[in-house]
Subunit: 640 residues, 2 copies
Amino acid sequence: MSTWNIEYLKPTLLDPVPSDIAISRSQPPKDIEKVAAEIGVHPEELDLYGRKKAKVSLDILERLQNVQDGKYVVVAGITPTPLGEGKSTTTIGLVQALGAHLHKNVFACVRQPSQGPTFGIKGGAAGGGYSQVIPMEEFNLHLTGDIHAITAANNLLAAAIDARMFHEATQTDEALFNRLAPKNKKGTRPLTEIQLRRLDRLGFERVDDAEHLSVEQRNQFARLNIDPDTITWNRVLDTNDRFLRGIEIGLGKNEKGLTRKTQFDITVASELMAILALTTSLADMQQRIQRIVIGCDKAGKPVTADDVGVTDALTVLMRDTVRPNLMQTLEGTPVFVHAGPFANIAHGQSSILADRVALKLAGPEGFVITEAGFGADIGMEKFFNIKCRYSGLKPSAVVLVATVRALKMHGGGPSVVAGTPLKHEYLDENLPLVEGGCDSNLRKQIENANKFGIPVVLCVNKFSTDTDKELQLVIQKAKQYGAFDAVVSEHWAKGGSGAVDLATALVKATSGPAKPFKFLYDLDLSLEEKIATIAREIYGADGIELSEEAKTKLERYTQQGFGKLPICMAKTHLSLSSDPTKKGAPTGFTLPIRDVRASVGAGFIYPLVGEMTTMPGLNTRPCFYDITIDPVTEIIDGLF
Amino acid sequence: MSTWNIEYLKPTLLDPVPSDIAISRSQPPKDIEKVAAEIGVHPEELDLYGRKKAKVSLDILERLQNVQDGKYVVVAGITPTPLGEGKSTTTIGLVQALGAHLHKNVFACVRQPSQGPTFGIKGGAAGGGYSQVIPMEEFNLHLTGDIHAITAANNLLAAAIDARMFHEATQTDEALFNRLAPKNKKGTRPLTEIQLRRLDRLGFERVDDAEHLSVEQRNQFARLNIDPDTITWNRVLDTNDRFLRGIEIGLGKNEKGLTRKTQFDITVASELMAILALTTSLADMQQRIQRIVIGCDKAGKPVTADDVGVTDALTVLMRDTVRPNLMQTLEGTPVFVHAGPFANIAHGQSSILADRVALKLAGPEGFVITEAGFGADIGMEKFFNIKCRYSGLKPSAVVLVATVRALKMHGGGPSVVAGTPLKHEYLDENLPLVEGGCDSNLRKQIENANKFGIPVVLCVNKFSTDTDKELQLVIQKAKQYGAFDAVVSEHWAKGGSGAVDLATALVKATSGPAKPFKFLYDLDLSLEEKIATIAREIYGADGIELSEEAKTKLERYTQQGFGKLPICMAKTHLSLSSDPTKKGAPTGFTLPIRDVRASVGAGFIYPLVGEMTTMPGLNTRPCFYDITIDPVTEIIDGLF
C-alpha cells in the first residue's frame, strides 16, 4: 500500500473557538465518494447513504488479506471529571495531525453516538472544536441506521418472548405443537432449520416429519417453559426515557392478565450492540445471535434466541449493520463510525470490523487510532482483554489523555459538578494539586497500560487556564512513571496543527519492532479469579467480595458452560474504585460485586459493581430547547 | 416534458409462479442512479441509500413548477376478504403495463410497509408475483430509515411529556422556572424562540429577559399542568408487540411513584406518520408538528408539542423523511415509496409529496398511480376528502379492484378465514354468488366513486379458479352500475403484459377534458354533520349515533377550534357498515360512534367506530420461522 493522495481540508482557525456545529458548518466536507477513492476503497465496495456518509464492504478484508496491518493505537483517559477530558477530541485531533500534517495514512475509528443523550443533556459527540467528525449533524442523527436496526431486532426478540409465553400459557400441548409444526399440503409436518436446531439441543434426532416425534418429544419441542423471573432480555429505545426504567406490560384486556414487570434500556445497551462491536463477519454475527441467552426455563436451563426462533430474522434486520460507516474529519481524513456499546454494562468500544478494515486500508506504514470509552481502568482494560482477544489484533501503543483539571481533582481538589461553575483551584495555578493527581491516578493508569506490555504516550489536553509550570510538571511526572513520552496538545483550539507533537511522539513510540502484547488474565481461570485479577491489578483493590446473588450467578454460569468467557466489569468510571467520590488511586478497599449478568451472544460475563443505569433521563430543560432548524435552508443549530 | 427513454426490464415469466422473493431475486434491478437519470432527476437532486434506493430532492417541485402535472389515478378496492384482493399488485402491474408496454411516463406511488407485520403474519408488501417493487427485501427492511426516524421523534416527545410532568411534580415553582430559564453569564434569562412562542400563546408580551416576568407569569410559563388522564400521545415501536398494548410506566424507584397507564402503538399509527403523508414541505411539517395536541392541561386547554419544547427537535429528527424514496418495479419503471400511515386510525395513503414530485416528473402526458388503503369506502373516501383536499391535486380516475372471490363473499358465500382452506364455493363456478356481490358491494363502491365526479375503471384481478362466465358477468355488471370501463387483468401471473387491457382502458378514461372533481362535504359543516354525511352517503347508513364520550369530545374539539378539520373515519374495512360480518351493501343501520380523537398536527378528527387495534401481535408461529439468510451470499429467503 502506498501513501494516500488526499486532498486535505484547511479549516480557518478562529479565536475564540466557535460552537462545534458552527465550525462543522463552516467547513464543507468532501463528497464521501472522493474520500473513499482517495484511500483506496473501490467503487463497488462503497454504498452511499447520501453524499457525506457511506457503508464500506467487508470484501476489502479479502481483497487486502495479504497487506500488512497498520499500527493499532488506542486512545484512553485517566479517570475523568464528570465533564470529560476530551478523548474523542484527542482521537480526531491526532488523526488530523498524522494525516493532514505528517501525511501518514491514518484512520480514526470511533463509536456511533446514541441519540438519547444528543437530545438530552449531552449534545453531539463528534469530537469538538477544530477536531471533529463532519458533518456533525449527520454523525449525530441516524447515521446509516445501525442503531435503529438494533432497536428493531432487539424488540422483535422481546416481543417474540412475551408472545411465546402467552401462547404457551393459553394453548393445550396439542394445539401449540400443531401450530408450531403445521401440516403442509402433503399432510406432513416439516420443520424449518431453526426448529431442527432445537431438536438438536434437546438431544432428539432430526426428523423429516414432526409427526414422527413422540408426545413427550412434541411437548419438549413446543414448550420453552420460560421462567418469567429469569428473563434478562429487555426492550430498548434510543431515547432518554426514565419512565421506561420500570414498567409493567400485558395490561391490555386481550393479554388475559399475563402481566410482567420489565424495563426498557437505551438501545446502545442492547446485547446486539455489543455483538455488532465484537463480531468479525456476518456469519459470526449470526452465530452470536443464535447463542444469546434470554433467560432460563423453569428447570434452570438457558433459553436462547434460537429457541425463540428469531436468529435469522434478527440477522436479516441487522444485515447492513456489519459494514463500517465512512465519514471524514474536519481536515478531510477518513473516519469509521461504527457501533457504540454502552460503556456502563458493555465494553464501550467501536467495532472490530471497522478497525480491521481500517488497518488493511492504512497499510503497514499507516495508523488506526481507536478510542476506548471511560477511564483507562475500564476502557483500556476491556479494549485489551475483550476486544483485542476477539479480534486477534495487536495494539502498538496507548495514547493516554489527561487534563490538568482532572489531575487537580485527583490531587485533592474540590468536586467538579456538571452545570455549576468551576472552583478557583481549577482556574488558577496550583502545582501541589497537579502533583497529587500525577502521583496517584496518572501513575496508576500508566502502570496499568504497561502491564499489557504496550508503550504509553501521554497527551495533556491543554485548556486555556493551564499554566506552563503545571503542564511541564505533568510531562515530567508521566515520564517518571513510565510513559514512553508525554506531550502537550492543543487540537481543540488548533485542529491537527495543535497535535503535531503528539503525533510525532506516537510515530516514535510505534517505530521499531512491535512490543510483546500480553493479556492480563487467562480465560481458563475461574470467573471469580478473573474478576479478582482485574480488581487487584487494575483497580488496586485488595480483593473482591461477592454478594450471595453474585455467587449463585457465577456458579450457574460456570455450570451452564459460560466459565471461559472474558469479564466485562460494570463499574463507575469516576473512580478507580467502586466509589465515585474516591479520586486519585484508592487502596485498601475490597471491590463489592453486587450481581453478575451474562451477555453470552456478545461473549462476556459482566459483574455489576454498584447500580448501573441502563436508561438515562431528561433533565428539566433538555438541550432540545436550543435545537432549531430552518425549514428552507435545512440548517440545524443548537446541536452544540 | 418528453417521453422518458427507459431501459425496461424483462423478467422471464414462469408457470407456476415462484415465490415473491424468488421472482424479485431472479430479476436484477437497474442501479437506481440510472433509473433517476432516465426519468429526468438531476444528479444533484438524488441522494443514494445503497445502490437500489435513493431519496429525491423536493427542489424538483421548484425546477418543474411550470410543467403541467400528469394524470393522477387512485387504485382502490371493493370491500375485501381478509386475504386482500390485490390492490398493491394491481398498482404495480398497471404501471408496468403503462410504462414497459404502452411506453407512457408513469410512476407508482406506494406506502412504506411496517416491519411489524413483515415479521409477523403478513410477510412482505411490495406487490406480488410478476408485479412487484424490487429488490423486495430492501423495500421491506428499513428502506431509507423514515419509519425509524418517526419512532425516534415520536418517542422523544413521549419521553419529554413524562419527564416534564415529573419535574413539575417534584420541583417548586421557583426551581422549575430557574431551570427552564437559566441565567446566562451576563446574569439575564433569555428565552429561546420556542419558549417565546409559549409566551405568545399565554398572551404575554415577549421579553428579552425572563426575569421581567411576574411571579404569576413565571408559573404559567413554567407549569404545563398536563392532566395525565387526557394524554393521547402514545409511545411507538415498529414491532408487533401485543404486550405493550397496555402498560404501566414509572415503576422505577427513582420515578417516585409517579406511575401512569399508557400504551405503545405500532409506529405507522403515530400522528407523525400521518403528518409525513399529508405534509407539503419541510416548513409545513414543522408547523404541523408545532400544532400537535398531546392532551389537555388541568383547565381543559390543549397542550401542544410546542409547549413541551420539542417542535424543532422532532423536525430535525424527521428532516430527511420529507424526501420521497425512489425504487423500481420488476419491469424497471420508477416507484416512489413514501410514508405509510396506519389505515385503522389514519388515512392510509402514501405521501402527497411523492405524488406531487411524480406528477411533475411524469409531465402532462404521463400518469401517477397511487394506492388507497383498505376498501374504497374508507381508502378512496379519505383519498378524496383528506389527501386531495390538503394537496390541492385533482384526481383523473379511480381504478377499482375486485375479485370474483370477494364478490362471491358479498353475494352470500361462506366466511373467508385467513389460514384455512377456501370453501368449494370459491373454487367452483357459482354465478349467483358473483351476481349477488356485484349487485351489492360492487354497485355501491362504483356509485360512491361517481359521487366525486371521477370515472371508474373496474379491474377484475383474475385468479386461476375464475371462469370466463364469472369474469364476464362482473364486467357486464360493473358497466351497468356506472363504471367507465371494466376489464380482466392478469398482472400477478404475467406482469405488465397481463395488465395492458387495464392500462388501455385507463388511458381512455383519462383522455379528453378533466372531469369536475368535487368533495363529498364542505369543511364548514359541523363535525357531526361531516361524520353523518360520510356514514349516509358512503356507507349507506341511515344516520349516526354518538356515545356520550363522542358527544363530549366533538363539543370540546369544536370549542378548541378544531371544528373545521376533515374527518378520518376509523372503521373496519371488512364491511361497508361497522359490523365486519355484514357483507354486500348493508342498509337500515345506524353507525355507532364510540369515541372521537383528534390528530390536530396531521389535520383531521378521527371518530372511532368500534374497537381499533393500534398494535398488532405475533401469532404462535410468526413468519420469522421461515426467514433465513445465508451469511456469505447475504441471500434472504422466507420474506414471502
